[in-house]
Structure formats: structure tokens, C-alpha cells
């Protein structure tokens, strides 16, 4: 919209990646600069809010300065050589695909910092908490801004240590085991991905994603493409998570603090799917084409598996934990995203990217709400929360109940809210996949995935029934505080964005569609 | 004399030395068998050198040079070896190799089995 000259845009993008790191180091200093709060804790938390706020503003200005007329062109690019021996260049750039993800990550981290500045999760020093949060943000923003395979791997791994400490230090029960499972599982995936990346880099002669994408896999023989696609696919599938490689997600979410869960679900899962779209699709098209049906199959199984697991958890007497339930719902939603990518059609990939953003917003909101519920009632176990007839949240805390209902409805993909367009376009892509993929298989995937939306609706509304509805609350029932101001401040952006993205999908699809058309082999050059 | 005789002799010497290292319990005897192995190598080198200088007119005799070096090294080794065995004997009262188990990886929780002098030494 507003035109900013190229060097300012470059600075903005560089600031997005490096700013949080500098903030993290500043947070560790004994007297963090910036606003002096009542106590040192207050000061460092406010420091966190200011840094993430600055990064968010930079991201928004970047989005405004972005040339919306041709989002397929890589903009705000910086390209400096860093390690000639490994041919690693600090090559940053943003286009229609990565811009929404950048803004989403910056927003979610800012909201998390804001939320935790009022309600710090129980755990050791807030100084370490803010520093880790900022390093995490730098890692995620770097993943979306970087255009070099090895730097992508570096950013991919940069988020592991901070998230491990966030879970292991500030988490709930069984946090150490869950943190270990998270970091070791994801690390194994990312190292296997490294092998694939190296194979591509060595065989094609360069690690630069842009160059690799433009010659669209012509520099690599098909066998190299297949092995590379398999290795990178496995690494990204662990992070997404795809069905058989998902078992770290429920444990990590159950144990993570609210802020950790929001970032894990809202941003970290997107790195996996972004990797599919940015690396696998353009760089190894033939390799990906051989695996597309299998990826589609796993995605669909993931959808059904996730929904059924949630149904099992939501049932009465199943001792199901609410955060675990939302984690499995993420497996289901990510199943849709993977299905969209596996269709290798512009519609499917657009749907996948849209569902990505929508999942980030909605699941982020869901985890915030569950966190608020846990702060109020002390438990997220569905059976203790909704003893016989239900927790009657509509009666005891109407606004909170309303928000839970809104988030549940958005999550089951109600048209008019963000969740619908992603799933609809994914199904539409799967209905009419790329011409060399076998159509009957993808038609069955469409049918099963569509049935999956019904299961999603089922468990979401069962949760609403057991949490929001219930027998009229007796006067002696413990009073639940309704939504506080700081909670409202943290959640309203998510609600507003979900509605805006639902009513006016062009805001995202207008950006991603040209970029995806150019990315996919069949698309116009 | 054909090359095979010294080669076989050196092989035999080497294996005897090897057996000595593995089987003997006293540290000194182990040192002697190590010396035996080194001398087997010297014999080998000299034999090959003579054989080479006759068949391929090799003038540099580097084999014998290496033998001299090896003898020097063996001497230095024995010097240090004996010093170490002496230290072991003084600390432990015996030079029996099988008794040297202090630095092994203890299996059970070894808080209890920490021997007295280690505790003493730890607190020093």
C-alpha cells in the first residue's frame, strides 16, 4: 500500500530477524533498559513487551510497504555471503507466501509477551523467560525470512533449545519427559532434513532457494530428487506433525505453559508446512510427485486419527485433558494443510497456506482460553471441569464461555470464519488434483477428509457442551472471574483477525495466489 | 639365507610377546613381553632391509635407520614403563595388573562403595 524505499524494507526485514536476538541479550543484562516497573520482574517483562511490540510494528510496516501488486516477486531482499566454504549466504527476502506467516508470528509472540507480562507462568526467573521468548521469536521469524537452505536449517534448529527450556522450566506436570520427547524427536527430524538439504545443495551446486526454485528441479536427477524429497519430507513431517510422527505433540502441549502452547501450535507447526511449500514443491517437483499420494494418504489418516482421538478424550469418564485434546485437533488441522500441499495444485496449496494462518490464529486463541480456564479452575481435566452435567461456563463466566464457543466454532471450520476457507480450498484442490496424480485416490481423500470435518464438528461441540453448558450453576458454586482486561487485550486481535480473514479471504489469498502460481511447476513462469 | 626364516622367527617372537602381554599378571613381565614385540619388529625390519638391498639395489637402508630409532624408543619406553610400575607398586604394594580396578566404571551407585582413602583424598 504505502511505498517505502528498498533499503528501508531491507532494514526492516533484517531488524525482524536480528532485533529479538539483541533484545534477548539485553534482557539478560542485570538492568534491562526501558520501562522501569515496580520490581525487576516487572521491568524485564515490560522489556519483553516493548521488544516484541517493536518487532510487530516493523512487521506491520513491512506488510504495508510490501508491493501487493506482484507478491510473487521476492522483496526486501538482502544477500551477503557469510560462509563461502559452505556456500552459505545470508539471503533474506519476503514474498506473498512468507509475509502472512511473518506477521502472524510477530503478532502471536507479542500477544504472548503481553499476556505473560500480566500473568507470568509459575517457574524460575522471568528474565530467562523473556530472553528465551525473544530467541524463539528470532528463530521463527528467521525461518520464514531466510532464502538459503542451510540458514533455513539453522533457523529450524534455533527454536529447539528455547522451546525445550520453556516446556522444561515453566511447564505443568510430566514436563521434563515431554520436553525431552519434543526436542529429541524434532531434532532427529531436522537432522534427517539436513541430509536432504545437503544432497540438494551438493548435487545442484547452490544452497540458494530462489535459484533452485527458478530452475525448478531441472538441475537434479529424478533419483536425487526422490531421496532428497524423502529425507526433507520426513524432517518436515515430524515438525508438522504428520500422522505417524506426531506422538511428541500431545505430550509437549499438555506439559507446556499457556504461552508455550500458543507459540508451539501457532508458529512452530507452521515452520514444517512452510518448508513443504517453500522447499519441496519448487525444488524437487518430480521427487515430491512420487510421494504426493502417500503424503495425501497420511494426511487424511491424520485428520481422521486426530478427530477420533479427540472424540475419545472428550467422552465422559475418559479423564481427557483439554490441552491434549486441542493438540490432537492440531494434528487433524495439519492433516488438512498437508492434504492441500499434496494435491500440487494452486488451489490446494493456497488452501494449505490459508489453513496454516487460520490454524495459527484459532488454536492460539483456544490455548489462551484453556490457559485462562486452568488459571481459574486449577485444572484442564475435562472430567473434573465438567463433573456431571457440565461446567456451565455460559452462566458462571458468560464472556469466557462465549469466547470458548466462538473459538470452537471457528476451529470446526464454520464458513464466514477463517477456518472454513483453508479447509474448503484444500478439499477443492484434492477434488481436482494435479493432472499426473491419480484422481480416484484423491477423490477418496476428499470424501474422507470431508467426513473428517464432521468428526471435528462433533468433538468440538461435545467440548462446548461439557464446558460451556450444564445444569444451572448453584449459588454456592465457586465464582469464576470473567474475562480480565489484559486477557481481552491479548485475545481481541485474534478474534478480529479470524472474523476478518473469514469474511474477506482475499486479504490472504490475494497475496499467496500469485506466489503459488509461480511456485508450482505447472503455473505460469 | 632365504627371507622366510627371519620373517617367521619375527612372527613367532611377536606372538610370544603378545601372549606375554595378555597372560602375565606381573607388570614387569608384561613390560618385558612388550619389549619382545618391539624387537620382533626390529628383526623384521633388518631382515627386509637386507633382502631389499640385495634384490632392488636399495642404497638408503632406511629399514636399519628405523630399527635404530625403534631401539631408542623402546629404551625410552622401558624407562618410563618401569617408573610407572614402580609408582603403582609404591601406591598399592603390589604390581599385579588384575588388582588395578579403581578407575573402572562402577555399576551400582557408588556413593556407599567410595573407599576410605578416596574420601580422605577428596576432602584434602
Amino acid at each position: 500500500m504505502i511505498d517505502i524505499n528498498e533499503s528501508v524494507m531491507q532494514f526492516l526485514l533484517a531488524f525482524l530477524v536480528v532485533g529479538p536476538l539483541i533484545g534477548a541479550v539485553a534482557a539478560l543484562l542485570p538492568a534491562p533498559p526501558g520501562l522501569k516497573g515496580k520490581s525487576p520482574e516487572q521491568a524485564v517483562l515490560r522489556h519483553g513487551v516493548t521488544v516484541t511490540g517493536a518487532v510487530l510494528i516493523a512487521a506491520i510496516v513491512l506488510a504495508l510497504g510490501f508491493d501487493h501488486r506482484h507478491p510473487s516477486k521476492m522483496q526486501a531482499t538482502t544477500d551477503i555471503s557469510w560462509i563461502p566454504a559452505l556456500d552459505v549466504r545470508i539471503h533474506l527476502g519476503v514474498d506473498g507466501i512468507s509475509l502472512p506467516l511473518l506477521v502472524l508470528s510477530a503478532l502471536l509472540t507479542f500477544l504472548c509477551a503481553l499476556y505473560s507480562s500480566f500473568k507470568l507462568p509459575a517457574g524460575p526467573s522471568p528474565k530467562a523467560f523473556v530472553a528465551l521468548l525473544l530467541v524463539l521469536e528470532s528463530g521463527t521469524l528467521a525461518t520464514f525470512a531466510v532464502l538459503d537452505l542451510l540458514l533455513f536449517f539453522l533457523a529450524f534448529e534455533m527454536v529447539l533449545i528455547p522451546m525445550y527450556f520453556l516446556i522444561a522450566r515453566w511447564g505443568g506436570e510430566q514436563r521434563t519427559r515431554a520436553a525431552w520427547k519434543f526436542i529429541l524427536y524434532t531434532l532427529l527430524g531436522s537432522v534427517v532434513m539436513l541430509l536432504g538439504l545437503l544432497l540438494i545443495g551438493i548435487k545442484a551446486g547452490t544452497f540458494d532457494i530462489l535459484a533452485l526454485a527458478t530452475d525448478n528441479g531441472s538441475g537434479l536427477t529424478t533419483s536425487v530428487q526422490v531421496t532428497a524429497a524423502l529425507a526433507i519430507g520426513i524432517g518436515l513431517a515430524v515438525k508438522t506433525p504428520m500422522w505417524p510422527l506426531h506422538s511428541w505433540l500431545p505430550d509437549a502441549h499438555t506439559a507446556a505453559p499457556t504461552v508455550g502452547s500458543v507459540l508451539l501450535a501457532g508458529v512452530l507447526l507452521k515452520m514444517g508446512t512452510y518448508g513443504f511449500v517453500r522447499i519441496l514443491l519448487p525444488v524437487t517437483p518430480d521427487g515430491f510427485r512420487t510421494f504426493a499420494p502417500y503424503l495425501g494418504a497420511f494426511a487424511v489418516v491424520g485428520i481422521i486419527y486426530g478427530s477420533l482421538a479427540c472424540l475419545a478424550l472428550a467422552r465422559h469418564g475418559a479423564k481427557g485433558d483439554l490441552k491434549r485434546l486441542i493438540a490432537y485437533s492440531s494434528v487433524g488441522h495439519m492433516g488438512f494443510v498437508l492434504l492441500g500441499i499434496s494435491t500440487m495444485t494452486p488451489t490446494g496449496v493456497n488452501g494449505a497456506l490459508f489453513a496454516n494462518i487460520a490454524h495459527g490464529l484459532i488454536t492460539g486463541l483456544l490455548f489462551f482460553l484453556v490457559g485462562a480456564l486452568k488459571d481459574r479452575t486449577g485444572t484442564t481435566d475435562l472430567d473434573t471441569l465438567a463433573d456431571r452435567t457440565g461446567a456451565a461456563l455460559y452462566g458462571r463466566a458468560p464472556r469466557l464461555g462465549g469466547l470458548v464457543a466462538f473459538a470452537a466454532v471457528a476451529s470446526l471450520g464454520l464458513p464466514g470464519l477463517a477456518g472454513f476457507w483453508g479447509e474448503m480450498l484444500t478439499l477443492f484442490g484434492a477434488f481436482d488434483p494435479a493432472d499426473d496424480l491419480n484422481r480416484p485416490a484423491f477423490l477418496t481423500y476428499t470424501a474422507i477428509a470431508a467426513f473428517g470435518t464432521l468428526l471435528t464438528a462433533a468433538y468440538m461441540l461435545v467440548v462446548v457442551r461439557r464446558v460451556c453448558m450444564g445444569a444451572a450453576p448453584q449459588p454456592d458454586a465457586p465464582q469464576l472471574a470473567d474475562v480480565q482486561t489484559y486477557e481481552l487485550a491479548a485475545w481481541t486481535p485474534l478474534v478480529v483477525l479470524t472474523v476478518v480473514a473469514g469474511l474477506w479471504p482475499k486479504i490472504l489469498l490475494g497475496l499467496t495466489d500469485p506466489a503459488v502460481q509461480q511456485l508450482l511447476p505447472g503455473g505460469p513462469r | 639365507m632365504h627371507l622366510a626364516y627371519p620373517a617367521v622367527l619375527s612372527a613367532l617372537l611377536f606372538s610370544t610377546g603378545l601372549y606375554g602381554v595378555l597372560a602375565r599378571r606381573n607388570a614387569i613381565l608384561v613390560l618385558m613381553s612388550v619389549e619382545l614385540m618391539l624387537n620382533a619388529v626390529n628383526l623384521n625390519l633388518v631382515a627386509f632391509d637386507v633382502w631389499l638391498s640385495r634384490t632392488t639395489r636399495e642404497t638408503l637402508h632406511s629399514g636399519q635407520a628405523l630399527t635404530l630409532f625403534t631401539i631408542a624408543i623402546a629404551a625410552a619406553e622401558i624407562g618410563i614403563g618401569l617408573a610407572i610400575v614402580l609408582a603403582v607398586h609404591r601406591n598399592r604394594g603390589t604390581a599385579d595388573i588384575d588388582k588395578l580396578r579403581d578407575t573402572a566404571e562402577p555399576n551400582g551407585p557408588d556413593e556407599a562403595t567410595l573407599t576410605e582413602d578416596e574420601k580422605a583424598e577428596a576432602t584434602a
Binding site: 529429541l184 524427536y185 505417524p244 506422538s247 511428541w248 486419527y305 477420533l308 482421538a309 472424540l311 475419545a312 478424550l313 475418559a318 494452486p346 488451489t347 490446494g348 496449496v349 493456497n350 488452501g351 452435567t389 456451565a392 455460559y394 462465549g402 464457543a405 466454532v409 464454520l414 464458513p415 472454513f420 476457507w421 480450498l425 478439499l427 477443492f428 477434488f431 481436482d432 470424501a447 467426513f451 464432521l454 468428526l455 462433533a458 461441540l461 457442551r465 460451556c468 453448558m469 450444564g470 474477506w504 479471504p505 482475499k506 489469498l509 490475494g510 503459488v516 502460481q517 | 603378545l18 602381554v21 595378555l22 588384575d98 588395578l100 580396578r101 579403581d102 573402572a104 566404571e105 555399576n107
Partner: protein, 664 residues
């Protein structure tokens, strides 16, 4: 102001009203009521203006691109032909009446602001479905209606019935929407656009490659939304919601959306005769089955719910024989008199303190307490039973006439079998409709026993609305002759002689037989005391109804029927009564067919996840641990083992290398 801007305002105003209501419902309760009533009122006025301007000639079309999708773009499009204009008027009218009625009915309900906002949101969604020219935007409205019905049915979330009914309503409609979505994709892929005009063009040029499959997929969605035979089980349970909601959503508008959709895309269905036959069979089974079930229901609202399913069966029957004019005409009249019936039922429940007909039949002169409801209900029941001067007669006869038209071989492209099925089922259910209408009227207003409790006059808002809706139930029939046909692409809607005589005859027979049966069984009423009355009779309508619903099962054994020997229905149906009361055990069938396998799947997945997937992960964790302990045990501390290991390693290495070198 061009027609397009007016047309855009019609759905937009209720939406803005809803948004405002939701946002400041709690902070400024003062003007929640005007915010609820004014938007639908203005929407009604604008709809009428648009209808008049459109006047049945060229359809109003306008479109801007909502979003690119990569292949088929989604456009924010308007396509207003005669049908759309009139249905929009009906929707706006009923919505305004319901909002006004609700101000009285839920006078001191704490959750009124959110209720009113959701009803406005529903109205805007329905108007969007009616006006939309793009199928995907239609689907958006379609599903927003579904979620509004979920929230509104769950309004009395304190009662267990409401909690169960809201979930069931949404899931069954969503089950229908799944194939519906795939059907839309098929249409869009063949037509290259979601625009209705382009799709109709492609169908006309024969571009649809397998129309039967597409038609059946769309039919599933319609069956779900319009509560037709296979997916109708949710509508009777949805009566657990407030009466105005039932009136608006489950009588006039949402359930009619399915019929309206088929009317809009009739060429798609007409393209395959097999689809029409399936449609006819579905309509027939729905008509007959629901009429029988209505005869056995004890709850007044469940009777009306099954009656709605039956009347919708008529509309789908008319579509099955290819006459969308008759279907939409019946939709309009039914919308009016069924909304009136529900609102009147609300008044009755509020006055008598119970929703059970058995209890009402044991109360004396209830009609003296609520004269307005009595007269307007009588008008509506006569219209429902299709007695000549009332609007129901004209619209039902136009449907049967269309069927007869096909039977006599005049209509080309429509299979004769469909005509016969619709005609026969139509006549049979005409008889049954009259039967349950008379039974309801007789049990409600001709009860004997202690006088009904007197709680003074009903709020003016509720009674005025009844009279407003009574007018179309009476007069709409006359329009069949006048200007209506030119809105409905010109076919003649006047009733033909043979079917009207046959139809009215069957109706009269049904009514008289039920009246006779009632005369005999009414004596038993005195001997078997039955019935429970709500605890707070003088509270507002909503609270009374909530208590009535909650007490029905404990008082009478189950939700639907009641053990009342004095019920003429029991006499008429005989052995069939027990099955008809529970809707022919379809619920039990669906639970065993669908719900139980899914729950079994859920437990299987939970077991799989914990035992299989996790064991692999834990196993992968344990292998290095085992290796580690082996390696540590190898550190025995004995030098000679170290040196022997060293030498053994050397020998193994040398031998391996020699073998590899020799082998390679």
C-alpha cells in the same frame, strides 16, 4: 438507490444489527430491543421494494470478486429472480414478527441480548442464501444458519434435552453438508465458476458430465437442511429450543432453504430423471411417515415439527414433478401459517403452563383464556388441512395439480412414475394432515375438566403478531389467480378440478374420522388424571416453556408420546401408535449405525496411540540406553581385557579388509 444497493442492504442490515447486539449487549441493555426489531423491519420494507421493482421479469444480477482461489474464483454475487424476491419478503416478514413476539415472550430472560443478536444473524444468513448468486457464498449463509440454529436450540442450555438437541441438530445438518460441499465442487469444476447463471448455462448446454451423482450429492445436503426423510430426525428434537426460534428457523425459513436451493437449480436435477424419481420417493416417504408420527405425538410443538416435515415433503414432491412455481407457492403459504401455528402454540404453552396435549385435554375452556390464539390457530389449522378458502388449499392443490399434469402425460422429460408417487402420497397425507390438525385442535381447545388457570391477558406484542400472520394464511391463496404467476415464470397455479375435489374430500374424511374417534375417547379423560403444570406459571413465556420441556420426560415417561387412553390418535393408529410416537425408531437405528462405530473407532485410536505409536517412540528411546549399559559394563578396568580387545579389533579389521579387498 438502485435495486442492487437495496438488495445488498437487505441481508446487511440484520447482520449489522446482530454485530451491534453481540458487542454491546451487556454494556447498554437499554436499546437492545429496538436494535433487535428495527433491522428486520427495514429489511422487510426494502425486500418488498426490491420484489416490486423486480416484478418477475429479468433477474437482477451483480457480482464482484470475493477472492481468487487458484482455479475457480469465488464471487460476491446477487441473482434475484421472482422466486428470490418473494421468498425474501416472506423471510423478512416472519423474522420481524418473531423478533416482536420474542420481546414479549422472553421479556425478562437475562440472555435476551445474545438471543436477539443470533436471531438477527440468522435472518441475515437466510437472506444471503436467498439473494446469493454464487454457490460458495450461498454455502457460507447455509452453514451460518446451521450454527445459529445450534446456538438458538441450545438457548435453554440448563435443560438436558436442549443440550442434546442442539448438538444433534448441528451434526445431522453437517452430515448432510459434507456431500453437499462435494456436489458444489463437482458443479464448479464442470461449469468453471460458482455463479448460478454460469452453472445453469452449462447444464443447459449439457456440460454436466454425471448429473445423477451431482444431484444425489446435493440432495443429501438438502435432505439434511430441510429435514427430509433420511436426515429429518433432528427437527422434532430441535423443539427443545424457544418457540419463536422454532417458528422462524424450524418452520418458515431454514428448513425451506433446502427446497429453495432445489428450486433455484432445478435444471440440474431435471437433467437426470433418476434423480427426480429419487426425489419423488423421498418426498412421498417423508410426507406419509411424518404425518403418521405427528398423529402420535403428545408435545404440541413436536406435532407441528412433524407437520413441517410433511409439508416440506409436499414442496419436494412438487419439485420432483418439475413445477418449481407450485413448490415455492406452497413454501410461501406454509411459511406464513406454520409460523403462526408455532407462535400460537407458544401462547398456549404460556397460558396453560404445559406443552402436553394430554394435559391440555384435561383443562376446561382454555379458549376463553386466549381468544386471539384460539381464532388465529383455527385459521392456521384450516389452512394446514387445505380446506378451500384458506391459502393452504390453493398451494397444496397447485402441487397436486402439477403431479396430475405429469400423470396425464402433458409434461415432457419428467418420469411418469414420479408423478404417480407424488400424487398418491399427496392424497394420503392430505387425509392424515387433516387428521392430526383436527386432533390438535380438539385436544387443545375442546378439553374438559377443571378450568385452565387464568394469568390475565397475554402481552400485546405476542397477540398482535398472531393477527399479522393470520392475514397471509387467509389471503395468500387469492394471489394464485392474480399477480403471483408472473413472479413464478408464468406457469398456471390455479387448482385443477379433479385433484382439488379429491384433495378436499380426503381432508374432510380425515377431519371427521378424527372428530368421531375423539368423541368416543374423551369420556376416558375424566377417569385417568394426567398432566403436570409448570412451577412458575406467571413468569415469561420462555421460562414456562423451559420448565414444560424439562418436566415432560419425568411426567409422561418420554419426550414424545404420553400414556393417555383418551388420545384419539392412539385409537386411530392402534398398534402403530407406539412406533409412531418415537419416530419409527430411526434414532435408535442411526445410533447403532453411525454413533456407536465412531465411538468404537475413538477407543481404538486411543488404544493405538498409547500402545502402538508410543511404544515405538519409547522403544527407540530405550535402545541407546541398553547399548549404553553394555558399553559401560565393558569398561571392566582390567588392562589386559583392553589390550586383548585392541588386538582382537586389529585382527578382525585386517581380516575384514582383506576379505572386502579380495571380494571387491
Amino acid at each position: 438507490m438502485t435495486t442492487t444497493t437495496l438488495a445488498v442492504l437487505v441481508p446487511l442490515l440484520p447482520f449489522l444489527g446482530a454485530a451491534a447486539g453481540l458487542l454491546l449487549g451487556r454494556t447498554a441493555p437499554g436499546f437492545v430491543r429496538p436494535l433487535a426489531v428495527l433491522p428486520p423491519l427495514t429489511a422487510l420494507v426494502l425486500a418488498v421494494v426490491v420484489a416490486v421493482r423486480q416484478g418477475g421479469d429479468r433477474a437482477v444480477d451483480a457480482a464482484t470478486e470475493l477472492t481468487p482461489t487458484g482455479s475457480v474464483p469465488v464471487e460476491l454475487a446477487l441473482h434475484i429472480d421472482g422466486f428470490a424476491a418473494l421468498v425474501a419478503v416472506l423471510v423478512a416478514l416472519v423474522a420481524t414478527c418473531v423478533q416482536i413476539y420474542s420481546t414479549g415472550y422472553l421479556r425478562d430472560d437475562p440472555r435476551y441480548p445474545s438471543y436477539a443478536a443470533l436471531v438477527s444473524l440468522f435472518t441475515s444468513a437466510m437472506l444471503l442464501v436467498v439473494y446469493s448468486g454464487d454457490l460458495m457464498v450461498l454455502l457460507v449463509g447455509w452453514e451460518i444458519m446451521g450454527i445459529c440454529s445450534y446456538f438458538l436450540v441450545g438457548h435453554y442450555w440448563e435443560t438436558p434435552e436442549a443440550r442434546a438437541a442442539s448438538l444433534k441438530a448441528f451434526l445431522v445438518t453437517k452430515l448432510g453438508d459434507v456431500p453437499f460441499l462435494i456436489g458444489l465442487f463437482a458443479l464448479a469444476t464442470d461449469a468453471g465458476s460458482f455463479r448460478i447463471t454460469k452453472i445453469l448455462g452449462t447444464v443447459a448446454s449439457g456440460g454436466l458430465d454425471h448429473p445423477t451423482l451431482v444431484a444425489l450429492l446435493l440432495l443429501a445436503g438438502v435432505a439434511g437442511k430441510s429435514a427430509q426423510f433420511p436426515l429429518h430426525t433432528w427437527l422434532p428434537d430441535a423443539m427443545a429450543g424457544p418457540t419463536p426460534v422454532s417458528a422462524l428457523i424450524h418452520a418458515a425459513t431454514m428448513v425451506a432453504a433446502g427446497v429453495y436451493f432445489i428450486a433455484r437449480l432445478l435444471p440440474v436435477f431435471a437433467a437426470s430423471s433418476a434423480a427426480l424419481v429419487v426425489l419423488a420417493v423421498m418426498a412421498a416417504v417423508t410426507m406419509a411417515g411424518s404425518a403418521l408420527a405427528a398423529l402420535a405425538q403428545d408435545d404440541i410443538k413436536r406435532v407441528l415439527a412433524y407437520s413441517t416435515i410433511g409439508q416440506l415433503g409436499y414442496m419436494t414432491g412438487a419439485l420432483a414433478v418439475g413445477d418449481r412455481g407450485a413448490a415455492v407457492f406452497h413454501l410461501l403459504t406454509h411459511g406464513a401459517f406454520k409460523a403462526l401455528l408455532f407462535l400460537a402454540a407458544g401462547v398456549i404453552i404460556h397460558a396453560s403452563g404445559t406443552n402436553s396435549l394430554a394435559a391440555m385435554s384435561r383443562m376446561g375452556n382454555l379458549r376463553a383464556r386466549i381468544p386471539d390464539a384460539y381464532w388465529t390457530m383455527t385459521v392456521a389449522l384450516l389452512a394446514l388441512a387445505a380446506i378451500p378458502p384458506f391459502s393452504g388449499f390453493f398451494s397444496k392443490e397447485s402441487a397436486l395439480g402439477a403431479a396430475e399434469h405429469v400423470v396425464t402425460g402433458h409434461a415432457e422429460g419428467i418420469p411418469g412414475a414420479a408423478g404417480w408417487i407424488v400424487l398418491v402420497a399427496g392424497l394420503v397425507s392430505a387425509l392424515l394432515t387433516a387428521a392430526y390438525a383436527t386432533r390438535l385442535w380438539v385436544l387443545a381447545f375442546r378439553g374438559r375438566g377443571a378450568d385452565a388457570p387464568d394469568h390475565g391477558r397475554q402481552p400485546i406484542a405476542m397477540t398482535a403478531v398472531l393477527w399479522v400472520l393470520a392475514v397471509p394464511s387467509l389471503a395468500l391463496g387469492g394471489l394464485a389467480y392474480g399477480r403471483l404467476p408472473d413472479w413464478f415464470d408464468g406457469h398456471d397455479l390455479t387448482p385443477t378440478l379433479t385433484t382439488s375435489v379429491l384433495g378436499t374430500g380426503m381432508a374432510l374424511v380425515g377431519g371427521l374420522v378424527t372428530y368421531g374417534a375423539w368423541r368416543q375417547t374423551t369420556a376416558l379423560a375424566a377417569r385417568v388424571p394426567l398432566g403436570a403444570v409448570a412451577a412458575h406459571p406467571d413468569a415469561d413465556g420462555g421460562l414456562v416453556e423451559a420448565e414444560a420441556i424439562a418436566t415432560h420426560t419425568p411426567a409422561y415417561g418420554d419426550m414424545a408420546g404420553a400414556p393417555d387412553p383418551a388420545d384419539p390418535g392412539r385409537l386411530l393408529l392402534g398398534p402403530l401408535h407406539r412406533h409412531a410416537a418415537v419416530g419409527f425408531h430411526l434414532d435408535a437405528l442411526y445410533t447403532t449405525l453411525f454413533v456407536r462405530p465412531v465411538q468404537a473407532g475413538a477407543t481404538l485410536v486411543r488404544f493405538l496411540d498409547r500402545e502402538v505409536v508410543d511404544t515405538y517412540v519409547r522403544g527407540a528411546g530405550a535402545v541407546p540406553r541398553l547399548l549404553g549399559s553394555a558399553v559401560r559394563r565393558a569398561q571392566t578396568g582390567n588392562v589386559q581385557t583392553y589390550v586383548s580387545a585392541l588386538l582382537a579389533g586389529t585382527v578382525v579389521l585386517v581380516v575384514a579388509v582383506l576379505l572386502v579387498a579380495a571380494g571387491a
